[in-house]
Symmetry: C2
Subunit: 333 residues, 2 copies
């Protein structure tokens, strides 16, 4: 039993891009458990774009991350000590312990998961919050119909990769948007999308038109900005856009919509959503996604940074699209 | 029986603002009726913002207005000659005969209306297309709940005035946005809105906050541009925005959305609609609105230009907000 817990706190709020100085790594002694508590050794920490929003003090959809507190985040791990009869040493669990090696808890917000058919890390990825996000945004906001064309940005990422594979399962033509030839190749060759547009190749509008010759019916937007503008120009009448993220604006870049008149001209429905407000669908989403992972029907890829200390750099890289697949930090050697 | 029909044709397409040179007034002899036809003397022509879009050749939601053809538009009038047994001289009708004094038809697209309880002109106003637009956009797109705050722009106009009165009937707090103190006074004192913001007074954001202290749940948008931006900043979580028009951009002014990130932050639903694609609701909308007009529960105001030749100037004025209430042209002396 280790006696020291490493934690990363929010040291200061970023002005513009996140920097290493915004974080502080601390060592905290682990207190002895009291009756009813148990302790989890976190194996994986999930790094997600929403965390960037929490670092700001401005109005957002949730309370901001407090200064000098452990950074928020989903974790997957194993119970290593227990004074609670409902939880046994060796249980595999997910929780929201944040950027630290251990979680000490009475069980609130902790969930046992079966890591025999689905890898433990997937429970904070495509069978976790990102998976539920993809499932809800595609099926409940976009509502695609077989034969329609679905476009998703950040297509090789934790959410986008699930959106595209689900849309294929529903009989749609699926076009990804990703940064770089490697990611695009992966999206088409490994994930089975019909096409993928490399937004860094310099011909976004033309490439998108070529990839979606019948126009676009649904767009699952993770990035906002000029990519959203380009997709909007190709939307068919009665198209639906689910606004899930706006990563292009997270570092304070001004982000406008270039031609909102298209909302009227093309009779679009644009809807923003936050998956934590739709917890009722998580069980169904996770049951379906878990089955797909177990059967090999849903593929995923992970970018794994090693050790808690690497989390800030991995997080900054993810905001710039340096990750390739779900960004995780492995917290055990 | 007059033998000459005056008509206004689209002579050229505007580049930027509409000018008188874009129109041409012509005299056309009225041909004798053939069996099955009847002739309508148009009493009123409706001038509506959508016509501006039709004058362009660029992509829009309907076919553009052909050059050297009679400008499109809704009309209300009286049958003056008939060789069709289903239509009698003296019948009051609405139709889409466009910018001309007479319509000659076999009855397609013509509708008999009862002008005894509701004034004839109202059938191309609050009991016509503009009324159906308000009814559908408010009740089927915004879907306000009693107690919520509803904001509508162009509040004294043909659509906005109906939106606000319907929203009051549904138990909402209603805030109008209009240009000038006179219009604002009318909206509050005559139409019964709870408040009205004069967007020309130079303090749109602050005045809007004061008028909607609990934030905005629904916005019925007729104008787009900076007014839409200001309203979006005050929208409550899960707010709904019906995009009905974008008159601020009709003359080719570039029109952006300043902060689309709010769609995600406030989980907004923004939806564009075109009332001509929802003809199924017109009978119900018109039945309800007609009853409200007949009983005095729905008030309306008209700006009436005299004579067909005045239509271009009246139309250009309407696009600048010079009208006060529904803009009509009276085609009979």
């Amino acid at each position: 039993m280790a006696e020291i817990n490493h934690q990363i706190l929010l040291a200061s709020r970023p002005t513009g891009a996140v920097s290493a100085e915004n974080f502080r790594l601390v060592e905290t002694p682990l207190p002895p458990l009291v009756e009813g508590q148990f302790r989890v050794r976190n194996h994986f920490l999930s790094l997600d774009p929403y965390m960037r929003g929490r670092m700001n003090e401005t109005k957002s959809y949730t309370a901001c991350q407090a200064l000098n507190e452990v950074m928020v985040g989903a974790t997957a791990g194993k119970v290593v000590e227990s004074r609670n009869p409902a939880w046994s040493v060796g249980d595999t669990v997910t929780a929201g312990f944040g950027w630290q090696e251990y979680g000490t808890t009475d069980g609130a917000g902790v969930k046992k998961v079966d890591a025999s058919r689905v890898p433990l890390s997937a429970y904070i990825g495509c069978v976790g919050m990102p998976g539920a996000t993809a499932w809800y945004g595609l099926l409940h906001v976009c509502k695609p119909v077989a034969g329609e064309t679905v476009v998703v940005s950040a297509a090789s990422g934790a959410v986008g990769s699930v959106v595209g594979q689900l849309a294929k399962k529903h009989g749609c033509r699926v076009v990804g948007i990703a940064g770089g030839a490697d990611k695009c190749r992966y999206v088409v060759d490994e994930l089975g999308f019909d096409a993928c547009v490399d937004y860094k190749a310099g011909a976004l509008e033309a490439d998108l038109k070529a990839a979606a010759p019948s126009g676009i019916d649904c767009y699952f937007d993770n990035v906002g900005g000029v990519v959203l503008d380009a997709v909007m120009a190709d939307m068919n009448a009665f198209g639906r856009i689910a606004i899930c993220g706006a990563i292009s604006g997270y570092d304070g870049h001004p982000m406008i919509m270039a031609n909102p008149r298209l909302i009227l001209v093309s009779r679009l429905r644009i809807e923003g959503f936050i998956i934590s407000e739709h917890l009722d669908v998580w069980p169904q989403a996770h049951a379906e996604l878990g089955e797909m992972v177990a059967s090999g029907a849903l593929k995923f890829r992970e970018s794994i940074a090693q050790g808690l200390a690497s989390a800030p750099v991995a997080f900054m890289g993810m905001l710039k699209g340096h990750n390739f697949g779900k960004q995780l930090v492995k917290l055990i050697p």
